[in-house]
């Protein structure tokens, strides 16, 4: 039996033939498929013009790995775990990317409404913030900040990082 596939198009026009089951991990694509009934049409292309080729490739790799996962979504904020949950070794390796790529994945996952990937990436960003000084947070996430000059001239960027924390 042939598995049904659809074509997803990235912002650069690259087409990804994808199993319907994998694509349905995204609520946005699922709604599209239900609304327009394109899964029976082999030539139908779903345009995702705000998602780059690299990011779409990463997201589809994640979706393919997690396609058989049970949907464990919990309604309401009461059950939301604050503590970062244990990230699986596969996910940890998958998200070994720089902060720019990670934020791109968050934006794409938000647009495509992939709840599992969003929760995972939020936890990874929270882990990156953990134990860091405000200056380090600004540095890692490219947050512009006018560094005020110190008493003896201009404070260099690296001086902010080499000052020890209170241990």
């Amino acid at each position: 039996m042939v598995t049904p596939t659809i074509k997803l198009e990235s912002s650069e026009g690259v087409i990804f033939p994808t199993e319907v089951r994998v694509a349905m991990v995204s609520e946005t694509i699922k709604t599209m498929l239900d609304h327009f009934a394109v899964q029976n049409d082999e030539n139908a292309i779903v345009p995702l013009h705000s998602v780059s080729t690299f990011t779409l490739g990463k997201i589809l790799a994640w979706a393919n790995h997690h396609k058989d996962d049970d949907d464990q979504s919990t309604e309401g904020e009461e059950l939301k775990p604050r503590r970062p949950y244990a990230i699986s070794p596969w996910d940890a390796i998958f998200l070994m990317v720089n902060s720019t790529t990670l934020l791109e994945i968050i934006l794409a996952a938000k647009q495509l409404q992939i709840k599992g990937l969003l929760e995972l990436t939020y936890n990874v960003v929270a882990n990156m913030i953990r134990g860091k000084t405000p200056e380090e947070i600004r540095f890692i996430f490219n947050i512009p900040e006018d560094v005020s000059p110190s008493v003896d001239g201009e404070l260099r960027w690296k001086d902010l990082f080499l000052w020890p924390m209170d241990f």
């Binding site: 604050r82 970062p84 990230i87 938000k110 913030i129 953990r130 000084t133 000052w163």
Partner: protein, 351 residues
Amino acid sequence: MAFISKDFRSPGETWIKTDGGWERSKVLECGGKRKRHHSEGSSSYQDSDSSEEEAVMPPHYHITIRCTREIAGFNGLSEAVKRLDFRRSVRDRKRFHYICAFLLLVSNKGIASLPGSAQRQLLQMVEEVASHVNDSQQHPNVLRGLALKLEHIVSQENQKCWGKPLGSTYLWKEHMATIKRIQRVASQIEIREPDPEAKPKLHELPEECVREIILCIADHRDLESAAEAWETMAKLVSEQRIWRELTRFHFNQRQIHTILDLDKFKQMGEIKDWKQIYHQLRRTYGVNDDYQFAEVLALCRSCCCLFWPSDGHPCIVDQSPDYKQRLEEAGGQLALAQPVPPAQFLKYFSL
């Protein structure tokens, strides 16, 4: 004539020559000859030669918790550190904070009181931290703190014995060289300025995304650091929901109600300042610091084995005849592993 047989009380010891000298290789009678299959999903074991087994066996260390007549309660820190692969774990994002906390605790207690091999191991780990910080461009303040601690230890040791450290001259010469290398790395770290062209940036994320990220942070100090980093984060951190969730994560209903009753509040809805309530609860009950580590060492209760939860360990509990019975009594769920924070880990070595 005495009956000569295998001593049932001891698993026996074998010694292997390595680059760093002779190392003890503890062979477990029950689990020594077992090997995990290479297939990812399988957890069964099969017999094989020990060289293959060593390559596949996840890092773990058997410790003695209680002393008996037969077993002397001695655990070697250097052996534990080596067997649990601490040095390589420094580069693991999930274990970095745990190992740094462990190194800080050890250096606070003073490394001079440790055996020579343990001293060497710990300094090699700090050197690995220095190398990792230099490569990853993250946590230079942690490295700086460790370097200052080492400097303080050296100055303390030099006052002990007529301006020289107490102990092996050769060993301390080696230590001094390692400490100098660590300090050189700490002072030479070049933090590259962020690329102004790189997109997207954190401050370009939608507000609801940033709020969700904040909700995953479980330490008030991290929330305050994030708030200082940029305006939007500060605005979100000041929201009552953030502090309410943080309070509910750390404290149970009874503790919260105790504070509310003290403040003459009867209902949670009447609370206006959850941040104040959180800090009041924190001062009253304290908060558990274990959550700050993404991965914590675990102790298997059945085989007294320390291991990293993400790697697992070769447990022999399933061979125990009463295990199934205990499992049924517990309703199919038996908590066999307990987390071991850095302070608890050091207690196993009488530190």
